[in-house]
């Protein structure tokens, strides 16, 4: 149902990022429906950027250091 042979069968290259022009969904997507012109696109980025810029708790750096120390061959490189 969702699978479109024309799209999925293609060899995917960078250009298909923006949708291929020869199928329906591609045509709609080529207008970049989530881009800067779209309210939803802008809100989505705002929502996400807010999350990304949230301060990272120390626990993660500590975790990685712990994992590193637990590596038996860590010092040998």
């Amino acid at each position: 149902m969702e699978w479109k042979p024309g799209v999925a069968g293609e060899i995917m290259t960078e250009k298909t990022k923006h949708g291929s022009a020869d199928d329906d969904s591609g045509r709609r997507l080529s207008a970049d429906p989530l881009g800067a012109n779209s309210e939803i696109g802008r809100k989505l980025k705002q929502y996400y950027d807010d999350l990304v810029s949230d301060e990272v708790p120390d626990r993660f750096a500590q975790l990685l250091s712990k994992l590193e120390q637990a590596e038996p061959a860590a010092k040998k490189g």
């Binding site: 960078e14 949708g19 989530l34 012109n37 999350l51 993660f60």
Partner: protein, 182 residues
């Protein structure tokens, strides 16, 4: 083989994106951080299966996503299927004059089925291509495209945004910014 310092630094650098994706999936900050922690431990253990020069962020997102769904299954929670899900209707104020509150947007996003939410986040916010998103989610590119467009339609419906072309100031900026040959 030891985990290289570079790999560790790259993991550290990925944490903000991982946390953002995890919150988007779980809609809960504590669960999200637990998920990120699990992801880092898994990534560390499997570092040899990561191919240098390939997309580390996509690799990590894949691990995080798999972890999320396997935890949900373990908890006996049925994975939402967008086709079977009744979208709860409204309760969000209609957007006025192009002022769409971020809080309203967040609650609208929460109402999307998981598969649609992750698709629109990966494509619209995390900066992945359709091909990368398909790989992360283990599905066809066409499936991602369809989920993104359904997610977008549902968000518009919940937020009462009718055709975005006629939407407030957007119509103006769209005219200014649209490139005729695009």
């Amino acid at each position: 083989m030891a985990v290289s310092a570079g790999f560790k630094a790259d993991l550290l650098g990925s944490i903000p994106s991982l946390r953002a994706f995890a919150v988007s999936l779980t809609q809960n900050a504590d669960k999200a951080d637990d998920l990120v922690q699990e992801t880092l431990v898994k990534a560390w253990d499997k570092h040899e299966s990561f191919q240098m020069g390939t997309n580390l962020k996509a690799w990590l997102f894949t691990i995080l996503r798999n972890e999320f769904y396997s935890q949900m299954r373990k908890r006996g929670r049925e994975v939402q299927d967008s086709d079977g899900l009744m979208t709860a209707r409204l309760a969000v104020h209609p957007a006025q004059q192009g002022q769409l509150d971020l809080k309203d947007f967040r609650s609208a996003l929460e109402r999307l089925p998981e598969d649609q939410r992750e698709a629109i986040i990966l494509i619209g916010a995390s900066g992945f291509s359709y091909e990368e998103a398909a790989e992360i989610c283990g599905c066809a590119v066409g499936t991602i495209k369809s989920r993104v467009s359904r997610a977008r339609a549902k968000l518009q419906e919940i937020l009462n945004i009718s055709g975005e072309d006629e939407y407030g100031p957007d119509a103006i900026s769209a005219q200014v910014m649209a490139s005729p040959n695009n």
